[in-house]
Symmetry: C2
Subunit: 403 residues, 2 copies
Amino acid sequence: MIGELDSLMRKRGIAALLCYGDSTLGNPELAYLTRCELPRGGVYLKKRGDEPLLVVSALDVGSARKGIVKNVKTYNDYGYPELVKRHGRRKAFVELLARIIRESRVRGRVALYGRNEASSVISVFNDLRRKRIALVGEERPTILDIARRTKDDWEIDAIKRAGEKTLNVVRRLEEFLRNLEIREGVATYGGEVVRIGWVKRLIRVWCAEEGLSLPEDHIFAVGPSSADPHEKGVEHEPIREGEPIVFDIFPQDSTGYWFDFTRTYAVGKPSRELLTMFEDVLAAHNEAMDAIREGAPCMEPMQAACRLFKSRGRLTILDLYQGNREAETRGFIHSLGHGIGLTIGEEPYLTLNEKQKLEKNMIATVEPGLYYPEIGGVRLEDVVLISGTKPTILAQHRYELEP
Amino acid sequence: MIGELDSLMRKRGIAALLCYGDSTLGNPELAYLTRCELPRGGVYLKKRGDEPLLVVSALDVGSARKGIVKNVKTYNDYGYPELVKRHGRRKAFVELLARIIRESRVRGRVALYGRNEASSVISVFNDLRRKRIALVGEERPTILDIARRTKDDWEIDAIKRAGEKTLNVVRRLEEFLRNLEIREGVATYGGEVVRIGWVKRLIRVWCAEEGLSLPEDHIFAVGPSSADPHEKGVEHEPIREGEPIVFDIFPQDSTGYWFDFTRTYAVGKPSRELLTMFEDVLAAHNEAMDAIREGAPCMEPMQAACRLFKSRGRLTILDLYQGNREAETRGFIHSLGHGIGLTIGEEPYLTLNEKQKLEKNMIATVEPGLYYPEIGGVRLEDVVLISGTKPTILAQHRYELEP
């Protein structure tokens, strides 16, 4: 939680946090620390025990003031135009950073943050150190990783709201699927064969209507194509009776917070194998949920899901780790889940070998799945809030193959 | 252009390019080098003179093969699971990078690329150097900056297509605006007062229908609010007769390529000042266009626009650079334009002091504007392709205040 910054800085012997970026979009660390939208980015500096400072372009002062940093200054306040004239645009930025750090009278180690091109990070790192500023890159988990992995109330609310909007889209899709008619083994609507590209356009429009954006698109993959967990859906494919439809939607709300949700459907009568896959995935989901509690290592729910799959004769990543490469493409071929927040993949990671403990107010996906190249996939995914001995599902929705 | 990589590497004495990331989304360098979507990212390595290598999760092999790198391997091929067991998840990644570089028998300096958290970049940089791999961060413009700033044909096509889709949205908005009725000084539709939030939802739906996403939203700002060039639009504001409506749309197409387009409208009779502002901005746009040609320094079109504004008694950034801080909020308060491609802000920068020359196949915005806090803003923006003595506008559209 953001209130932990000072105590984490003290524990690690860090005198100041420096974070910069050319936009808050695609820069979750800068977005987290400033809680505003900065289309040209900015420079954030927080001395231990002090209120933070945010320096932005004069154009962005209005946007910056909508955020949580009270002390907003402009590049011009630090004489940036002269720095550009004297050093050129590229070197001027490092000079600006040095000036901001010096005028803030930072004494001690400065940890560097922000998501930026490697060339920029390395030159800032080397050039500031050459200027005798004790810049350091932290080992992961960094102070910010730790702060961000347990969510503040306003973050939980933002993720919940994204979840509610997501469920609105899910319900519209299910209604659409219920209205399909099977003709000669393929789904039709108003007499026409339904192609995946068309459904995907509908989903995008429904998201837009909810104010959700889809920076990474979404997955609506059917039949054998869905055996690749990341296949987004093949434009011209029809929906065949009884084959799996994997619908995985991971929208970003206007707050910057993401959601992540998956259900698997079939229209018409599902095949016997698909039904069994669905039952096994749901059972693994239940086992995993039962293993999620404050204080448990992140690997435990993953291990619980793997045990369940194994007991039903399914391959899992455990088999892959023991050298069976068939488990690269058959069975439970990915991890159980990952944290979400200002990114769609962050701590905690519900993977094998992850010893990090589940903590109160962590938020993570729980998404067991089974995949077979000749059939396709089944995946069921919820987002849960960790708290006490029982996780809370943030967007509750039924689990059924029938839409 | 991507074909320049080898010769640029030779010129700079770089033996290999190393690029990594946790997703191609938000990682334009990785997206450029691989030309595919990798939801979990990957590691790209190119030795000078050799075909590149791409290493991804086993789950992403299908996605990776859709790209331009022929030689695709998996983390498992490099024994990643054992590395995780031996070193833990966080250290294992650096070990993996070291193994990939060593097995590729790279001799010489390796330039590091990719957009990643500073803590990750610094630890990769320090740890690989400790392992005696001669990793370097390049000064900007880097090899990739130079390659990316002149566009390949397929990139020009992708940007053009994004422009065509954008114009479809622009035309729908203009039709909507033409159908508004002024009542008691504010715009209404079907008898109801039109609020900005409603128009913005329509624009989002139209973009979704075109398959365009809006990762940074869009600007539909009216009246005095539009005096802040980055104001996205105030939800509850109505549209008042004769006041400026700044519509700036910067969508990303499914190819990953962006577009950027602005027009300014007024419904009902525009004020005298607004008309003059519009005329001056259009004149500046023309002057700037006349100054754009292969071989001219990037600053020239910006200087031409500033000269025009000055001749009409307007403040510009030149005044700010000469110490007049009124020019922070009044007049032509931003630069003329910027490159677009896999990002919405990249080289070339059409700013004062930018000596870089315009080159054939660069693509940039041309977007002069005028802003006054009590009136609002006027901005006209096109995307142009630099070629010969006359730039080509990639999405041609009329310039009129009346929608």
